[in-house]
């Protein structure tokens, strides 16, 4: 762990927290959907609750890491890694958003109310943001470990 920069530790902590909270969030959404209780109000409550929990975990984690090993300023390598992983994460997000737009259009063409449901669209967008962020964090760790 001592060979890790603050930015790499941050990426590991954020990725682990996001995977756990993301799994809890999407399993809650699926359970609500199976119980036919997935409405905008219930989804709003679940998403706000898990977002607040994620923020609290991340704030606590970063305070702990900074207290133990000290926060460091970014240097040119950190900025290059952040730019490249963010760039690829942005492409993934863009691809996901276009896929959702096609899903909405496709749903309209076949007259499917499911694929045009606001709660499905909102969760599809949440999933894409989740996937893009996971890709960005995983690439950040990869570039730190394997070089850039």
């Amino acid at each position: 762990m001592s060979s890790m920069s603050f930015q790499e530790k941050s990426a590991w902590g954020t990725l682990a927290s996001l995977l756990v909270i993301g799994a809890l969030y999407f399993s809650s959404v699926i359970n609500l959907w199976r119980a036919e209780q997935l409405h905008m109000a219930s989804m709003f409550g679940v998403s706000v609750g898990f977002t607040v929990l994620l923020v609290m975990i991340l704030v606590g984690f970063h305070i702990l890491v900074a207290a133990i090993s000290g926060a460091e300023d970014e240097d040119e390598r950190d900025r290059l890694i952040a730019w490249r992983s963010g760039h690829i994460g942005g492409i993934v997000l863009g691809f996901g958003v276009v896929s959702i737009v096609l899903m909405i259009i496709g749903g309209g063409m076949v007259d499917s109310t499911l694929w045009q449901s606001p709660v499905i669209i909102a969760n599809a967008l949440m999933a894409m943001v989740f996937i893009a962020t996971v890709v960005e964090l995983a690439l950040t760790i990869w570039f730190h470990r394997r070089g850039i």
């Binding site: 060979s3 920069s5 460091e72 240097d75 040119e76 390598r77 950190d78 070089g147 850039i148």
Partner: protein, 72 residues
């Protein structure tokens, strides 16, 4: 992933009285992890950092960094 640049940073850092990675990092203005990455060939530094490393060691930059093709 990184470019095909060979480096003598570790060799020059350890030469003479020796210098820690942390000391070199501070002299150049980057993190110790970046010095580790440069020494292990996992990162090719910017021209600015390469020139600062060269100035720290008192050698021309081409004596520290070279393309792998030139090493032959």
């Amino acid at each position: 992933m990184p470019g095909n640049i060979t480096t003598r940073v570790r060799e020059l850092r350890q030469a003479g009285a020796g210098m820690t990675q942390q000391q070199l990092a501070k002299a150049v203005g980057v993190s110790r992890q970046t010095i580790i990455a440069i020494e292990s060939g996992r990162y090719s530094p910017s021209l600015e950092v390469a020139l600062k490393i060269a100035r720290t060691f008192g050698h021309p930059v081409e004596a520290i960094f070279s393309l792998e093709d030139d090493a032959d």
